[in-house]
Symmetry: C2
Subunit: 466 residues, 2 copies
């Protein structure tokens, strides 16, 4: 794009820069470093910095920033923790990156109603620390310590989704600033409603292209009486997947069940100093009463054993459990860092669970034939898995090989009636696949985008081309 080489804020109209400076003071910044920080990606996308960054501290400030940008005809891109992986917050057309990470107020916790209201910049770890003493937790766990606003915007999910759902289920309502500068609340705090169109779910997953989320009301859950976590290694990928499918068929409410292939386990062992057998492995977590957890474990152990699983290695003390899930959360970094100086290239598909073993198996065979190191890991209970490539940033050949493998992976998932992204979103990286997946439905999305953002100022160039 060449933006990285431009002078500070060179692309912003002078009038807008003056107005933002007057309004936001030192929370309006045009320096090269801060722009780069808001214009880089966790993965392989080239940096595309915004022309300036505004740090908002309230919904009213978001309204003001949106109004000023709209009047100046300049794009505005909501920014949270910057942990998305499909280039979702890159400033492809320049403009203002609106950083919400200082909006960290936990507005209310309604313990009896199992909900809370938080500002968009609250991060999931902050929220769970806040909730712990009240016996509650927020289950959505994409790995990264993302902001709630960002997680809502990409419809994030992660390790707990098999039991507790995704951001689609976790968000009860949103406060959103629209392109025309209005503040709307998409729903009340009731657990369910048939009152009009489901604007909450429309904004969840819209990647900041329809409005800017400034507050969210979230469903919470009671911390279970008992939590047990374990790992179990399998001779075959099919054995691991079948164990999960059969557990779900028996109604076992697995709280977490993650698959890591042998390559991923090798990376985890090295990065997180673990000593797991270097085979396809399931990471389990069981929630419930003491008795119910014991019953779940008994059934799943039997199924695992019948499917070629080894011994269960338990992590029942809180510290052991934390170490296990920390290792899982760092799996991406573990995979990328198998090669010194490499960068990550992550993809994400989701298929009906009946096709998962086949989809992973065919993908694994391709990866083994490739010269680029790669691992497979995923949320097997949902049919969702990722491939993480560790690529040489200077090798065009590797990039092309990875793109070709990814294209075949996505087409394989689509042929199985799956989706091109289970939880990462479309951003820049999956736009051609969105068209292939949903066809004319993407035109409906365009109509909605034009209706709610007629000047295309909100995170332009993402999800689809207008």
């Amino acid at each position: 794009m060449g933006i990285a080489t431009q002078g500070a804020g060179s692309g912003l109209p002078g009038g807008l820069a003056t107005a933002l400076g007057e309004r936001f003071g030192d929370r309006f910044q045009q320096g090269q470093a801060i722009r780069l920080e808001h214009g880089k990606s966790e993965t392989h996308f080239a940096p595309m910095p915004p022309d300036a960054v505004v740090f908002a501290q309230s919904t009213d400030e978001v309204v003001e920033a949106v109004n000023l940008c709209r009047e100046a005809g300049v794009p505005i891109i909501a920014f949270g923790a910057g942990t998305s992986v499909e280039g979702n917050t890159l400033a492809v057309q320049g403009g203002v990156s609106l950083d919400l990470s200082r909006m960290t107020r936990i507005v209310a916790v309604n313990a009896e109603d199992f909900d809370c209201v938080v500002e968009a910049g609250v991060r999931r770890e902050q929220l769970n620390e806040h909730l712990r003493d009240q016996g509650l937790f927020f289950p959505i766990d994409p790995g990264a310590n993302a902001t709630i606003g960002g997680m809502a915007s990409t419809r994030a999910s992660g390790t707990n989704a098999v039991r507790y759902g995704t951001m689609r289920e976790a968000v009860l309502g949103l406060t959103v600033v629209t392109a025309d500068g209005r503040v709307v609340r998409t729903s009340r705090r009731a657990r369910k409603s048939s009152a009009g169109y489901d604007l909450t779910r429309l904004f969840v997953g819209s990647e900041g292209t329809l409005g800017i989320i400034t507050e969210a009301t979230l469903r919470l859950h009671a911390i279970p009486e008992a939590i047990s976590a374990a790992t179990c290694s399998f001779d075959t990928i099919a054995g691991a997947v079948d164990t999960v499918v059969q557990s779900i068929q028996l109604g076992i409410p697995l709280a977490r069940v993650e698959i890591l292939d042998d390559a991923q386990i090798r990376a985890v062992n090295k990065w997180s100093k673990m000593d797991l057998p270097e085979l396809t492995t399931l990471f389990f977590e069981f929630h419930g009463s003491e008795r119910y957890v014991a019953e779940q474990v008994e059934t799943v152990k039997e199924l695992a054993s019948a499917n070629g699983g080894g011994e269960f290695r338990w992590a029942n003390r809180t510290e052991e459990r934390s170490a296990l899930w920390k290792a899982r959360h760092e799996a991406y970094y573990a995979a990328v860092n198998m090669r010194p100086g490499a960068i990550g290239w992550a993809t994400d598909v989701c298929v009906p669970i009946s096709r998962l073993a086949e989809c992973i198996g065919e993908t694994k065979a391709e990866l083994e034939a490739s010269s680029v190191p790669a691992t497979i890991l995923g949320h097997v209970g949902d049919g969702n898995f990722h491939v993480v490539f560790s690529i040489d940033p200077d090798s065009k050949a590797e990039l092309e090989e990875v793109q070709a493998i990814n294209a075949r992976l996505v087409r394989r998932a689509l042929a199985m009636d799956g989706t091109c992204t289970g939880e990462h979103g479309i951003g820049l990286g999956k736009q051609e696949w969105l068209e292939e997946e949903l066809g004319d439905a993407v035109d409906l999305m365009r109509s909605i985008k034009r209706a709610l953002d007629p000047t295309n100022m909100l995170n332009p160039g993402k999800v689809f081309q207008l």
Copy 2:
């Protein structure tokens, strides 16, 4: 409206009537009886018949009907079982009622994936009969034997929602015919996806105003190993509600928990020939393994006892359980028929569960001071309850009294951060309350409506006024 007194099909342009007649033969009907059948309500709304009825048998036929109506500038109203209660399918501007109830094909059951694909006219009882032999069930249960298309359109829920969610969670994807006659599929069959805007959830609950649902992919669940049902009477409404709230706080996954007030129990005893104590009563159902159900029951019994609950009366044999839930499903008719010649007037609010006892208590006090017979029943685990009035259809005074009580009930729910409808939808009856509940958000809905249905041909006059 006076439409009921018009001659058959008098409002339809001649060219359209000819074209529909040529295309649909005897599945295009303009007779008075069939029009009235498609223009009446289960509740107090005056009949508003369409000018004609078309029975569609396929998605392609829906496309053709939509195209012909659009070209003629005539409204089209999707019609399923006609069991909605807010006038959702009445032909306020005349036009064509598009009856989908003959689209009853169960296209696929993917047992391993816990999903199925059905046409919009499939009714929930038909689906569950079809699924039973495979050990699966579809949990959404609004009482009436509604069609899946209608249930999706009103975002229906009912007795199982506390455990299994509503149509919001139950619908994985939809096939929809748009106003411009295109067929779109809103998602693939993967259990979760971050691929673009959530069109599925946008169409769920849009009451036929954004497109016509012709097919749905639904999430299914395994029939649990053990099912236990019971009733328990309480001295006070608060005692019943507190029992439920505390059960949920302890993580008990109640499958069903319904509240019926003393008046409703009297009606049920008479209508369904039951002999329940005429007190506020909870109807419970527990799902799980034998051991887990026993554990749930033990805990809930303790809580009920501590909150002034009486003995649990069990209905464990399939026939006993069916009789119990049949009585619950007929509760509306039981309540209406407490007075000979009366008609029903049903309302529906949902509040945060912490406010439920207060909301029901204040409402109960008002009902006791009213001269119109009324009952309270609801899905207490969701904070959702209904009031059913049994009104004299010829008494303007009763209608006005009921409207006033309803207005105060809705305002009470909104003041508690609740919603004006938990599951019935807006239709005609709740439009003013939608505005009061969501304010500017309704303008966003209007923008979306205009974008997807620029000529306002799809079920015009519903949800909001443009």
